[in-house]
Amino acid sequence: MKLAGLSYQVARSLLSTQYAYMLEYRAEIALWALSGLLPFIMLSLWSNTQAGLDLGFKGFELSRYFLSAFLVRQFSVVWVVYAFEEDALLGRLSPYLLQPLHPLWRYAASHLAEQATRFPFALCIAGIFFVINPGAFWLPSLWILLLTWLATLMSFTISFLLQSLIAALCFWNEKASALERLLFVPYLFLSGLLAPISSFPPEVRKWSSLTPFPYLIDFPARVLSGLNVDVLGGFCIQILWICILLPLVIVLWRLGVRKYTAMGA
């Protein structure tokens, strides 16, 4: 069975090739992993205030939340719009379009391979965090790890589809990544990367829940850190966003490919 050209053999081959490619850039990927330390910076700011306690975070819950936010971010980071924009501008997209495999599968495989390469670096950073902050150490159950993996995978899928939607605009406007930069601001504030969503005023919480952003970091991070969270509701909304974005990506891609001018190729 094939899905837009993807079969088990193609997926295996894509992942192994992309993993080999990413390993060539392991040092660069380690630096990318290090550049995601923002949640720890936010933790240090929050730790010096009483706000955590005021918001109901007891003991090391806030530390665990930010470590979880860091880990979820590591495995849900998406850069497809930049890669796609470069490929479209330089004509590298042309050979992809002439093969019986949807080009987005290649980008998805690149991301998954990059995550696999990041994994040991992210674990090392988590280890260093526990050395510095031993009281925050906890070992989630296998069930929680499974739920976190699923929630993070869904978070990655939503982000990937959202960026693919913007990337498809490259068929009309070569610099569609500017739109992604615009979306980065609400992502930063509403995803839970800077602060848990529960710390926001009720009105902001209400409006943010209508966007996909809280389900990208805050929801999986709360699952992992063992904080109070509506697991079933969170998964349902993640699935809902995937169901909304997926057809939009497919339609916009089909329309966009007709506009492709294969410049530079």
Binding site: G5, S7, Q9, V10, R12, S13, L14, T17, A20, Y21, E24, Y25, G91, R92, S94, P95, L97, L98, Q99, P100, L101, V257, R258, Y260, T261, A262, A265
Partner: protein, 331 residues
């Protein structure tokens, strides 16, 4: 006329691009910012031709003549503005999976191989994408590698390969799925003479073995003369010649130049019976003789005069083609 075994059929194919039209300088920049002007450029104008299965056709034209745009429409990369095109029975713009399995596009200045990995990794990926099993892919890689005279290079990172080695690996990657229609856009671009000759020999052998249809663009006339009995000439988006290369050369240059160095003084009038006398000085004579009379005329010249040296020259084909492009038509 559509032949029953027509593989590529094109009728009044047109492609128009809309491009920004900006005046130079700062004023032009502001004007363009406030009121963006665009204009339509017709890259390909009502082009029609058909190519039969197994044919190797050369597609010639100056830069910007519309060759690559036509190739991109034929392989489905870009959608035509108007006109009809069928390749291997498919409408290319739909880019159906079955269609994509039958074609390949090789661009001399572009690559599909993953830069930091050995070509073998990209080849294995291509094999999986086209649903070729491991045993069959190994067989095909070995077969093509033998034809291309490439071996251990397949396990070295692409970035470490020479241009010629890379091009061979690119060809291997493009032909692994055994396409029946090959679109080759300057496949020998930048290669040295030896590498060019090897790529030409490979393409000829591939065509002979598989019966693939080939449409080839190149700036090297040797590619065309060696590989393509038929040529399409395109200029400013319009095809102005479609026919056999030999017939084209014959029509452009019906005469051959014969240069004789004599061991005796002979009056110029003595040569008028053999052809058009161009020059006769210091016992060196230059004559233009119609191609079909050449053998007979040269035999008589050698019999009737004391000849020290004899040269028969043709006008180089790239000069002839250049003449056509400057004129924009074939006489």
């Amino acid at each position: 006329m559509i032949f029953p075994d027509t593989v590529i059929d094109v009728d009044r194919l047109t492609k128009t691009y809309r491009v920004a039209d900006k005046d130079p300088g700062l004023v032009g920049t502001f004007k363009h910012f406030l009121a963006r002007k665009t204009c339509d450029i017709c890259a390909v104008k009502e082009v029609s031709f058909s190519i039969k299965a197994g044919e190797m056709v050369g597609f010639l034209g100056a830069n910007g003549a519309g060759k690559t745009t036509t190739l991109k429409m034929l392989c489905g990369l870009i959608c035509p503005t108007s006109g009809y095109v069928k390749v291997a029975g498919f409408s290319p713009k739909s880019r159906q999976s079955e269609f994509l399995r039958q074609i390949t596009l090789v661009m001399g200045q572009k690559q599909q191989l993953i830069w930091d990995l050995p070509p073998l990794d990209s080849l294995k990926l291509n094999a999986a994408v086209y649903g070729i099993g491991p045993r069959e892919s190994r067989y095909r890689i070995n077969e093509l590698a033998d034809m291309l005279e490439i071996g251990e290079e397949l396990t070295r990172p692409v970035r470490k390969l020479s241009l010629g080695q890379r091009m061979k690996a690119e060809l291997l990657a493009s032909l692994l799925h055994r396409p029946s229609v090959l679109f080759l856009d300057e496949p020998t671009l930048g290669l040295d003479v030896n590498a060019q000759a090897k790529v030409r020999a490979f393409l000829s052998e591939y065509n002979r073995r598989t019966g693939a249809t080939v449409l080839l663009t190149s700036h090297y006339m040797a590619d065309i003369t060696v590989l393509c009995p038929r040529v399409l000439l395109i200029d400013q988006g319009k095809i102005f010649h479609d026919g056999q290369l030999d017939a084209l050369v014959e029509s452009l240059s019906p005469n051959r130049q014969v240069r004789l160095e004599l061991n005796q003084d002979v009056s110029p009038e003595a040569f008028e019976a053999y052809g058009e006398l161009k020059d006769c000085e210091n016992r060196v004579v230059r004559l233009l003789i119609p191609r079909h009379q050449l053998t007979e005329a040269v035999t008589k010249l050698l019999a009737n005069f004391d000849v020290i040296d004899l040269e028969v020259n043709d006008q180089p084909i790239d000069e002839l083609i250049g003449t056509i492009f400057r004129a924009g038509k074939v006489k």
